[in-house]
Amino acid sequence: AVRLCRCRALLSQPAGALRARRGLAAGPEMHFGFQTVTEEERREKIYQVFETVAKKYDVMNDSMTLGIHRVWKDILVHKMNPCPGTLLLDVAGGTGDIAFRFINYVRSVRQSQLQRKLKHHQNLSWQEIFESYQNDKFNSLGNSQVVVCDINREMLKVGKQKAQHLGYSEGLSWVLGNAEELPFDDDKFDVYTIAFGIRNVTRIDLALQEAYRVLKPGGRFLCLEFSHVSNPLLSRLYDLYSFQVIPVLGEVIAGDWRSYQYLVESIRQFPPQEELKAMIEDAGFFKVEYENLNFGIVAIHSGFKL
């Protein structure tokens, strides 16, 4: 039997992948994981990945990171330290993880606020207290709002279902939109977050520019993303786990090897900490810093629009 070895001619060229790595395409070539594709192909492939993955997204996150992604997201929101009244834009927010945490956080801050207020009002009559609630328009979130924006319908769908299931409705909006071209006006939001999403954006520079545009002066940019592990031993273990175990988990749990193969490859293709910091600065942000979590497996980048 003839072995259909369509080998050499079709092997993707590593040089091309390298060139295309940063998403600043040399010609129309870009990377999709380790493959070389055009910009349009990349957008489409990524859309399809998340369309396929949407329903099992949360399960897979838990399996792959052994639940640690929850801690990472908690840390992001704690770092944000939002006060009631904050308007958050969560881009690539798909299944709502950041949005829900934001709501929980402001709710508890609001709770403490109201308790303190109550203590001050203890000398008032119950009638007066009741009236003050009405005037304040008793709002458990203190008028905080989060807009979840995602390019993928399926992810938003899952997010909305989750919100309903978990009982989140107040202060939450779902918008279909592209990080490279946001459907919002300038100077609108207090905080912009993008958690595990910027890696999938085809033109990161555009996304950063858009982030800058829609933030109010004084607004904060926060990015949570997989990054570069510099420790050599850890790096090897991480690679081993990423390339050997994660696609297998994808196949067994979600019946989808390829999407998770893309995931681990795209992590390797993404700019490391310093490079991303430079890109954020290029977009006009000031006081750009990053914090490594778990030795650089994940990093939180932060910047301010002044």
Binding site: A1, L4, C5, A17, F34, Q35, F243, L249, E251, W257
Partner: protein
């Protein structure tokens, strides 16, 4: 672009050492092929086995289990086919059983008791289609990938030949027959663990009547992959059974 081998360390990002770039020339050998390292195959085998037991509707997991554990049985089967005139022809011509290649109208028109008529009846009664068979992904040899594909597509014909429906009991019986015939570990595991989900009454029927018959037939019959079914639609089922050495079903 063509997917690179899944175990490779990233190239070029930090110019990692030359030794790691010495990949064993893994490429995609057929459409749908995903090259995997031995470690990945082992993990897949374990994971798919657990998942298949946990969620019996995950037929894809059974398929993956078959592919990752078939490294000894598949070459064996392929050799059996190569050494048989009809099997050899199948390997050459690579026929596929699917709705687009089958002439359903013609098969339905065949006399009752013929292979073709009974096969179509089986498909209709059990509401199954030959097109739902998973294409192979993790078999690292293009010919063996065909062998396992053929085995999957012939599975429904096994049901027809053995007269077994697609309920749990019927599937277990067919698995026992296939386990003996092919030696595929996936069939053996399926045969061993399948009965776990059966009621006691069915277990009794299985143990006393169906299993002994299936086992005897399996041992007696010639290799079922060596039959060019597509050229035998008109053959009466009984005659085919006799030719193969399958005893009449109880």
């Amino acid at each position: 672009g063509r997917a690179r081998p899944s175990h490779s360390d990233p190239r070029g990002r930090d110019g990692r050492g030359g030794e790691e770039e010495e990949m064993e020339g893994w490429q995609q050998l057929y459409p749908g092929h995903i090259p995997t390292s031995p470690l990945q195959k082992a993990l897949l085998a374990a994971g798919s086995a657990v998942m298949a037991l946990y969620d019996p509707y995950r037929h894809d997991m059974v398929a993956v289990l078959g592919e990752t554990t078939g490294c000894l049985a598949l070459p064996n089967l392929r050799d059996k086919m190569k050494n048989h005139p009809e099997g050899y022809r199948i390997l050459q011509e690579r026929p596929r059983i699917r709705l687009s290649t089958l002439d359903m109208a013609r098969l339905q028109g065949l006399p009752d008791g013929s292979l073709g008529r009974e096969y179509v009846r089986f498909l209709e009664d059990n509401k199954v289609s030959p097109d739902t068979r998973m294409p192979p992904k993790f078999v690292d040899d293009e010919e063996l990938a065909y062998v396992i594909q053929r085995y999957r597509e012939v599975h429904d014909l096994m049901h027809t030949l053995l007269g077994m429906p697609t309920n749990m009991l019927g599937e277990v019986v067919v698995k026992w027959f296939e386990a003996i015939q092919t030696g595929l570990p996936m069939c053996v595991l399926g045969a061993a663990f399948g009965p776990v989900r059966l009621s006691t009454r069915k277990l009794q029927v299985l143990a006393t009547e169906l299993l002994p018959w299936a086992v005897r037939s399996g041992l007696n019959a010639s290799c079922i992959l060596n039959v060019y079914y597509e050229q035998r639609w008109e053959q009466p089922l009984e005659s085919l059974r006799e030719e193969l050495g399958i005893f009449p079903p109880p």
